[in-house]
Symmetry: C2
Subunit: 210 residues, 2 copies
């Protein structure tokens, strides 16, 4: 392409502030160049107060949010609210991949133990090994003498299953009771629409009802 500076036509507005904003929005996951430009124009045209709030929230979170020393989730204190609580069962430790997963388990209102957040999963293909997901800290945490059962609540993906298997072996060797979330037909699920793998698992792990 010829250099356009020397041509007879002026170049389009560099729009530096706008371009810079669109480029910076690409840091968000799943946001490509077109979406970033649309977002930048939307904010400048329709929601400048929202843009300012987002700017402040980004600066504040980047500055103040770090990992809980005990469970590794995000918090603004040394220990997160759950780890500070005296009302949770210290004998139960649930292992999840991300803070979002922790919040999902909390929403069930069916668990009153504590957590450990891996902030990832084993994924050899992506170069993520045991050293990259805080496994040494988990091991120390799980063998503190108070934990009696570890509940593996990693995802039921290949990586999540491999992570659960690896951690399970590690902890079982140290005499800790390890369990895994049940697999089976989802609540409200119709057999016709459940995948064969799930149905096979539900059959193998069928439970007596009477």
């Amino acid at each position: 392409m010829p250099a356009r500076d020397t041509g007879p036509r002026a170049r389009a507005e560099p729009l530096s502030g706008l371009d810079e904003l669109a480029a910076a929005l690409r840091a968000l996951p799943g946001v490509g160049p077109k979406a970033a430009q649309r977002m930048a124009l939307h904010l400048l045209q329709h929601d400048r107060p929202g843009a300012m709030r987002l700017s402040v929230a980004l600066a504040r979170a980047t500055d103040s949010v770090h990992h809980c020393e005990r469970c590794n989730t995000f918090t603004e204190d040394t220990l997160c609210t759950l780890c500070r609580s005296t009302k949770r069962d210290e004998a139960l430790l649930c292992i999840v991949e991300t803070p979002a997963d922790l919040l999902m388990v909390e929403q069930t209102h069916a668990y009153d133990g504590l957590y450990f957040v891996l902030m990832g999963r084993l994924s050899p293909l992506d170069g993520i090994g045991p050293r990259d997901i805080a496994l040494d800290r988990l091991l120390k945490r799980a063998t503190d003498g108070r934990v009696r059962e570890v509940v593996l609540a990693t995802n039921f993906t290949h990586e999540g299953e491999a992570t659960a298997h690896y951690i399970g072996e590690l902890l079982a060797n140290r005499g800790i009771r390890v369990s895994r979330l049940a697999r089976g037909v989802p609540v409200g699920g119709e057999l016709e629409y459940v995948d064969a793998g799930t149905l096979a698992q539900a059959l193998r792990e069928r439970r007596p009802v009477a």
Copy 2:
């Protein structure tokens, strides 16, 4: 649902900095609560420098980007680069809905006139009338004595067409030559996959080739 504060279990971490960030990300178009949480966790976990850059870019753009006095597009100066240029044809004025549309027309390298950006379109159903899209400024701009032809390049949607029609009437009444982008089969388009409306238009507006 019972109030959980009084129950025997502690509540999940309020995560205020993180929650605030996720809430602020909702200002972006097309970002729901789940996507906002995913974005917030991604930034804090994997790209804090990116989050800081975004914070600064938002603050800077909100502060410095405003509308060009002449063509109404976004700029950081009084006049945008295109309006300041002496190399563009002042007799041609292309009317577009948004700065993104302006950039698309520029990318064609097929237009060397100037622009007017409506920053919207007529949309009675959304309560957007002629007063909301800077039509008075456009009228003043188009009748400054130098503009000889106005090219209507609003979208080929219902609103865009209605806007083009409205502006076309307005300007034609003042003796200005008005044209509209050609409609037809897209370059590379296959008749089999072109919608019937487009094909009908291409037939009605067929051009002699010899």
